[in-house]
Amino acid sequence: MANKPVLAEQRLLDVKLGDLPPWFAKADYTPKGVLGAFRRGYQRYFNKYINVKRGGLPGISMILTAYVVVSYYFVYDNTKHDMWRKHH
């Protein structure tokens, strides 16, 4: 009986630094595995912040903030032209 769950099934934040390459090796890269990882993350987030009796603003505001930040990354090449100085 293992004390900790198997390495491949541990969450990324729980993996120790030395164990990282084996974790990347053992991870499930099939489409089903990737989809499973997305679904797990979705369920974790939803069960923690949204599927509650008195959920609130933080539940969706975090999603919107993440969307804003990620979209800024994709628009950066256009915004580059509004730079104030050439050399930083």
Partner: protein, 223 residues
């Protein structure tokens, strides 16, 4: 329902903005069997500070940097982004600032009212659902009463029928005895009358006449 409202007003905190998002649809009967009941939803979700950063981040840095650590991190990060111009200040920044200001103002001012309204409608629905359970109890009582009244009706019927049959036997006995009596009387009378032979009749008539004569003499003598 008014009592429920008053209780709720006392226990609710002010200046909190929560609103109820309908949960993602859960399949209740995904498999054929559903042995365990569906678990209840937790009361509140994970804590989030300033609406965008989960509390876990602050707890994670607390042992190393104390309370101000994450804020210093944020400040340094912003300074880096601005000075290296990874975050560029343009017209969109100004519009974003304005939008954020309006949003924060609206939330701070009207947040708790929205919370109250939603909690009220939630509580009303909960109260209605509980009321439906009372309807079940009332219906159950009705059915029990109908059953009992039915049973009593039938008992009464049984009693009446049994009484009727017993009365019949009683009446039968009475009738028999009555007929026997009458028949006996008639028979005795007819026999007695038959037994009076003509000779006896003459004798009885003559003796009656003699008695009458003696009576008449006695009465004449008395006068």
């Amino acid at each position: 329902y008014q009592k429920l409202q008053k209780e709720r007003k006392v226990t609710r905190k002010k200046k909190t903005f929560f609103f109820f998002i309908s949960p993602s649809p859960r399949l209740f009967h995904a498999s054929q069997q559903c042995p365990a009941p569906v678990p209840r939803l937790p009361e509140t979700g994970g804590k989030v500070r300033h609406g965008i950063i989960p509390e876990e981040f602050f707890q994670y840095l607390y042992p190393v940097t104390g309370v101000t650590g994450p804020y210093v991190l944020g400040l340094g990060l912003m300074t880096m982004l601005l000075s290296k111009e990874y975050y560029i200040i343009n017209s969109e920044t100004m519009s974003a600032l304005g939008t954020l200001a309006v949003i924060v103002y609206v939330i701070k001012k009207y947040g708790h009212k929205v919370t109250e309204f939603i909690d009220e409608s939630n509580d009303k629905e909960q109260w209605r659902v509980d009321g439906r359970k009372c309807i079940f109890d009332a219906k159950r009582n009705n059915v029990a009463m109908i059953l009992e009244s039915n049973m009593r009706e039938r008992q009464l019927m049984v009693f009446n029928e049994v009484k009727r049959r017993l009365d019949y036997h009683v009446e039968l006995e009475k009738l028999k005895r009555h007929l026997e009596q009458e028949h006996l009387i008639k028979w005795v009378e007819s026999n007695v009358i038959k037994s009076i032979t003509p000779q006896q009749e003459k004798e009885s008539i003559s003796s009656c006449i003699m008695q009458l004569k003696s009576l008449a003499q006695r009465s004449r003598a008395a006068v």
